[in-house]
Amino acid sequence: MALITEELVVLNLDSPDRHAATRVLAQALADEGRVTDLDGFLADVRKREEQMPTGLPGGIGIPHARSAHVTEPTLAFGRAPQGIDWGAEDGPAKLIFLIAAPEGGGDDHLKILAALARRLMRTEFRESLMNAPDAAAVVDVVNREVVNP
């Protein structure tokens, strides 16, 4: 199964805060059957977020959790042109990556998420996501850079 599909891309994320934005992306995961219990998963993400907000310099937020309610490692991507405060020092997040990892999970699956996390540090990767014209282009970028590098 794919790490990300077009149904898991939200290009105009205009939620008022990070919790609402997370819920929109998590709903997409639930609709696609990647998450079995929406509220249970959100609680797990929130628990991680409360340890320390996952906003990072460069306008990105990476809410994430390992959760029993996740069926397989999945990425939901949201773009918020107006920015959403994600707790980073240098300003609001415009690229939101909701990373869902299953509780058990074999190493091979988790390695994809590790590769994704490494790509997030690359400016070109972030720029091509920022400039992607549509959902299909986002999926292309992720597949090209992370899944089949």
Partner: protein
């Protein structure tokens, strides 16, 4: 320059890898090389010892404590939160450069704060920021993890020796093999016809092969307490702890203080070595501290304490128990069986266990003359009660795997054979790691088994051998029933306590667990 680093974070799926990328990019941009060990949920591939040795400095950008931190001991170190490596990789690299340059300019100062790197890549299970209770458990676990190979090798060799002896020597073979063979001697005069299997080994004699297995196993067993003690001290004080710990443990074993005595000497040796190695000394003396002063004083203090201070109370307790037991004989046999059972499981080969066992075997010697059934019943109760602790733990690891670490589960498999062979020591790795829950569970099962054997009236003429001497047991069927009941009770109790108790040991052990320490 060459740098190495470790990154980690609470969830282990995002920040760990972003931080690694951040550090590697920053190092490359500044013209350095950098290898990062990502301790995330996708497991972690250890940096090779050569890579670490070649590094000019170490960067820890972590959200949870570094696993196997001792590998990096002695290196110039930069420590920061994991987010720092994501937001400011170049800043951390600059700090690492500064640390490396400072260390190069003044090697003594850089090394002073951290202990010398442990030789041969030995690792402890000790994490920096743990609570006192966790520290004590981590110290114990370090000792236990290094002891396990000795238990496994020794116990299984002894059991195999019994099996071969049973085949080669008939129904008394398992007893004969423990008595008539030696690696030294024989004494002169030699009324019992002791055979020295070093000089007189006969490949055609099955008993000689059995004795070979038994004696090698026994040699391995003689290291249990010294190694346990030595590596508890090692976990506390790093390399300076090894000598006082091992020597103290050897003395504890020699004077019959068992593994509880070994735990005591491990702690004493560790803290004495730690204390001495932290003393402020004049510069001229500093050079000879690790080679002469620390080993000399720590070994002397630890050995002196166990001989002069701790040895006597332990012996007094043992003597007191022995005379108390002698008073009990004949008054209430079932109660006696329960008490002996409790004693067998209390310290698994330590002084209390030995009192019960010696009480039974000396009774056996008297029984050869007096032919009273009581002594044979006592022997039967003692052996059965000594078999149930490993058997019960083996059963518990089989039916509730998740409560135990990987290494404990593997140890549990060996414990079936050890328990069946009346090698109570098979339970020590479990007891040393979690004494407050394992020892009471074992005592409960052993006490009940001891009482039941008395109730059933089983008898035994052999001082050792486990199920391999079943042909020598009077009323063997009920005897096995008593063992099965005690095994089930110990397993149930240990499962209940481990499932209910706070801070289960399993979490500590699963991550970076025992098995790799043993393998490494």
């Amino acid at each position: 320059m060459k740098f190495v680093g470790v990154t980690s974070c609470p969830t282990g799926i995002a920040h760990t890898y972003m931080a690694a990328e951040g550090l590697e990019q920053a190092a490359q941009a500044a013209g350095h090389t950098m290898e990062v060990e990502t301790q995330g949920s996708a497991g972690f591939d250890r940096l090779s010892p050569e890579t670490i040795a070649a590094a000019d400095a170490v960067i820890f950008a972590v959200g949870v404590p570094v696993r196997e931190r001792a590998r990096f001991a002695g290196k110039p170190l930069v420590e920061a939160d994991v987010k720092k490596a994501i937001s400011d990789g170049p800043g951390l690299i600059a700090r690492a450069v500064a640390a490396a340059e400072e260390a190069a300019a003044n090697p003594a100062a850089a090394q002073a704060g951290s202990p010398a790197p442990p030789s041969g890549g030995l690792v402890t299970k000790v994490e920096e920021h743990a609570s006192t209770g966790n520290h004590i458990r981590q110290w114990l676990m370090t000792g236990v993890s290094y002891m396990i190979p000795f238990v496994a090798a020794g116990g299984i060799l002894i059991a195999l020796g019994f099996m071969v002896a049973q085949l080669a020597g008939g129904k008394n073979g398992a007893i004969v093999v423990t008595k008539l063979y030696s690696l030294t001697g024989p004494p002169t005069p030699n009324p019992t016809h002791i055979v020295n299997i070093v000089t007189d080994f006969n490949p055609a004699d099955g008993m000689h092969w059995a004795a070979l297995l038994f004696l090698v196993g026994a040699a391995s067993f003689s290291f249990l307490v010294p190694i346990l003690s030595g590596f508890i001290a090692f976990a506390i004080a790093d390399r300076p702890g090894l000598a006082p710990g091992i020597v103290g443990g050897f003395i504890a074993a020699t004077i019959g203080a068992g593994f509880l005595g070994g735990i005591a000497t491990g702690f004493i040796g560790g803290f004495v070595a730690l204390w001495i190695s932290r003393l402020k000394v004049p510069k001229g003396v500093r050079g000879v501290m690790p080679v002469v002063v620390i080993p000399l004083t720590s070994v002397l203090i630890t050995g002196g304490l166990i001989i002069l201070v701790l040895g006597r109370p332990i012996k007094a307790v043992s003597d007191g128990l022995a005379s108390w037991l002698n008073g009990l004989t004949g008054t209430n046999l079932i109660l006696l069986g329960v008490i002996l059972g409790l004693m067998m499981a209390f310290d698994m080969g330590g002084p209390v266990n030995k009192v019960a066992y010696t009480f039974a075997t000396t009774g056996l010697a008297a029984a050869a003359v007096a032919t009273t059934g009581t002594s044979l019943q006592i022997m039967a109760a003692v052996m059965a009660a000594g078999m149930t602790p490993p058997l019960g733990l083996a059963l518990a690891t089989t039916i509730r795997r998740r409560l135990f670490s990987e290494a404990e589960r593997e140890n549990g498999q060996a414990a079936w054979l050890l328990g069946a062979s009346f090698i109570t020591e098979g339970a020590i790795p479990f007891a040393a790691a979690d004494p407050l829950r394992v020892i009471p569970s074992c005592m409960l099962g052993s006490g009940i088994t001891g009482g039941l054997v008395m109730l059933f009236g089983s008898t035994l003429r052999a001082p050792h051998g486990g199920i391999w001497v079943t042909p020598l047991i009077g009323n063997p069927l009920l005897y096995l029933v008593a063992i099965a009941i005690g095994t089930a009770i110990t397993a149930a109790a240990v499962i209940a306590l481990k499932a209910a108790g706070p801070g289960p040991v399993k979490t500590e052990l699963d991550a970076g667990g025992l098995a790799e320490v043993v393998a490494g």
